[in-house]
């Protein structure tokens, strides 16, 4: 388990919005199933005193922490205010902020992440589905029904593609330790290399699936500094240049940010790269055979 477990107390900011409310319900349903603490407080300015699915709502993160014991926040606050919410959580002393919000201006993200890092707080996202450690904790919006507990970690820039891969793994009988959606924006907090560092120290995780896409070069950057056995998949081999493929960060802008260059780089490092999501379970099995 990385980033959290059953004992992790979670604060949700943007708790009284449609998304926040809905996912507090789902996160706590999961917490009940696995016997975890789940969401212990919600935060929405000027809505202090309300309750969402029985969870008390506070005006600020600091107020919430005076009465509740929490170490992580999940942010559902909309685009223009999300960065502020990340900084508020970091400033209040939380160790982890998972920012689900899409459409955050990239300058805001850069500043919020720099500020959080100064405060010793790790940021996952923005524009991400969060993370899920099967049997332990869910912080975000991943559909828990597809997951199964096991020894393979997953790190991905995408949401539904992650679910697709998790579904393939589960149906092939390969369980997951922790699945982390790091986000589809050009600037994100925890990158492949940060998450891989955590996985390297995690006794449960034996191998990691790295799901990347066009844009930037975080995949190779992450893969080059780790000893963790890896299988990779890169989406966007057919993506045309200079077009944003759904994610703000998924754009081929010259240089080596296209899928083929990324795949070539990873293969050069000796990493198995799947050409289709459905090949991933077999590659993982092969990896385990080699390491056994």
């Amino acid at each position: 388990m990385i980033y959290g477990d059953k004992k992790t107390g979670i604060i949700v900011t943007g708790a009284t919005g449609r998304q926040g409310e809905y996912h507090i319900g789902l996160m706590n349903e999961y917490a009940r199933q696995v016997g975890g603490r789940g969401v212990v407080a919600g935060v929405t300015p000027k809505k202090g005193g309300q309750k969402v699915h029985g969870v008390p709502v506070y005006n600020t993160v600091k107020e919430a922490l005076r009465e509740q014991d929490a170490t992580a926040a999940v942010v559902f606050v909309p685009g223009g205010a999300a960065a502020d919410s990340i900084m508020e959580a970091a400033d209040a002393g939380l160790e982890l902020v998972v920012a689900i919000t899409e459409h955050v201006p990239v300058h805001d993200t850069m500043k919020a992440i720099a500020y959080a890092e100064m405060k010793g707080c790790a940021v996952i996202g923005p524009n991400c589905p969060g993370l899920l450690s099967p049997g332990e904790v869910k912080m975000g919006i991943m559909p828990s029904g597809l997951f199964s507990r096991g020894h393979v970690g997953v790190i991905s820039r995408s949401g539904t593609l992650t679910y697709e891969v998790v579904d393939e793994l589960t149906r092939a009988g390969i369980g997951q330790s922790t699945v982390v959606g790091i986000g589809g924006d050009p600037v994100i907090g925890q990158t492949f290399s940060d998450v891989l560092e955590r996985f390297a120290e995690d006794p449960v995780t034996k191998a990691v699936v790295l799901i990347g896409e066009v844009g930037g070069n975080l995949e190779a950057e992450g893969a080059k500094n780790t000893d963790v056995p890896l299988v990779a998949y890169i989406a966007g081999v057919s993506a045309p240049p200079d077009k944003r493929m759904g994610h703000a960060g998924a754009i081929v802008e010259g240089g080596e940010s296209d899928a083929r260059s990324k795949i070539a780089k990873l293969k050069k490092m000796g990493i198995h790269v799947a050409s289709r999501p459905s090949e991933i379970p077999d590659l993982i099995r092969e990896l385990f055979r080699c390491h056994c």
């Binding site: 459409h103 579904d167 989406a235 459905s278």
Partner: protein
């Protein structure tokens, strides 16, 4: 969104960067109204969003006497296939030296990065490639509101002090205008001081509203229509229409089409939690792509409910065949609804894509 040179220059000037005197015209006849403002020697520049504009014939030299004829010619030329709708006519600068400066975001460091070269101009990309140390770069904490002086000195070397000041002002543009890229090439010294002879500015699409930009010009009309419905949409030129949920899964579906030898007509991500109406609009929008022969729908329901997806597909009533793979939340109900109406369904994304490639021929 990419701004045009004259728009970028206006924003640069607001931050105190000196730009050449110029006028903007939409027809060569308009120049007659501005003859008082035309210098003896001018540069006539097509306002088109094209890389390598100068080499493609989009920048011409003229005098006060020839400017109207030169502009007329330029209005009648296409620059790399793009029509010239506006022309910027600027005083020709007495250039002493050309520099290059560009500010963008370093995704790995999560910081602004400034690139600087002692020799700017049209060949900068080649220079950067062949002479690696010709381009210097610095990055720094994004919480700072100015580029630290020691970094400016490191970056600009022996260049005049005004160059350093201009670089810092460009950083202000970069921050205040939510830019993904702010670039001056060439940044020039003249006897009258430092000027931005050209200007490039790309604004973050997530910041267009707060920058007062109502319409994203980088999108096609159909792509803008898609944006209104909350889709991410990219038009391509193949025969297989694609509708998915989530950018990664949709991109992966496109890749599978290529893997099985087909060609995608579009990329459409309906987004999270799409209801039947949104799906209906998506299917109709994709069905309108002229090259289309078949639509493949690949959805993995998390927040999105597959029964809603099925209702949307049925309600769209488009004449092209729609082949479906839906899995996840309420998949069985969705499959039942589609089966009743005779839609073809397959169980995995490999199978559904393979089938679509067959149908498209």
């Amino acid at each position: 969104m990419k701004l045009l040179e004259h728009e970028a220059k206006q924003l640069f000037a607001q931050e105190g960067i000196r730009v050449p005197n110029g006028i903007l015209v939409g027809k060569h006849e308009e120049i007659l109204l501005h003859m008082d403002a035309i210098a003896d020697n001018v540069v006539v520049k097509a306002q088109v969003d094209v890389g390598g504009r100068g080499k493609a014939g989009g920048v011409l030299m003229a005098t006060r006497d020839t400017v109207i004829e030169t502009a007329r010619q330029l209005f009648n030329t296409k620059i790399k296939g793009i029509e010239v709708q506006r022309i910027l006519i600027e005083e020709r600068l007495a250039i002493q030296h050309e520099y290059f400066v560009s500010i963008t975001i370093d995704r790995i460091k999560k910081q602004p990065v400034i690139l600087f070269a002692e020799t700017g101009g049209v060949d900068i990309e080649e220079t950067a490639h062949t002479k690696k140390d010709a381009v210097r770069s610095v990055s720094f904490c994004p919480l700072l509101s100015d580029v630290p002086g020691f970094l400016l000195r490191e970056l600009c070397g022996d260049a005049p002090a005004d160059i350093q000041k201009t670089v810092n002002r460009l950083y202000h543009v970069f921050c205040h205008k939510d830019a993904l890229l702010a670039e001056i090439n060439p940044l020039v010294t003249t006897p009258n001081g430092v000027y931005a002879a050209d200007a490039k500015l790309i604004v973050d699409d997530n910041s267009l509203a707060r920058q007062g930009i109502a319409v994203n010009r980088d999108l096609t009309e159909r792509e803008r229509e898609a944006e209104k419905h909350g889709f991410s949409f990219v038009e391509l030129d193949g025969t297989i229409g694609v509708i998915g949920n989530g950018a990664g899964l949709t991109m992966s579906t496109l890749d599978l089409i290529e893997y099985y030898g087909g060609k995608a007509a579009d990329f459409l991500d309906v987004g999270g939690g799409a209801d039947s109406e949104r799906v209906m609009h998506a299917v109709r929008l994709v069905a309108g792509v002229p090259t289309l022969r078949v639509i493949v729908v690949n959805l993995l329901g998390g927040i999105t409910r597959c029964d809603e997806v099925a209702k949307g597909i049925i309600a769209s009533g488009v004449p092209v065949p729609v082949i479906v793979r839906i899995a996840g939340t309420n998949a069985e109900e969705g499959q039942r609804l589609l089966a009743e109406k005779g839609y073809e369904m397959l169980d995995t994304m490999d199978h559904v894509v393979k089938k679509a490639v067959e149908v498209a021929g």
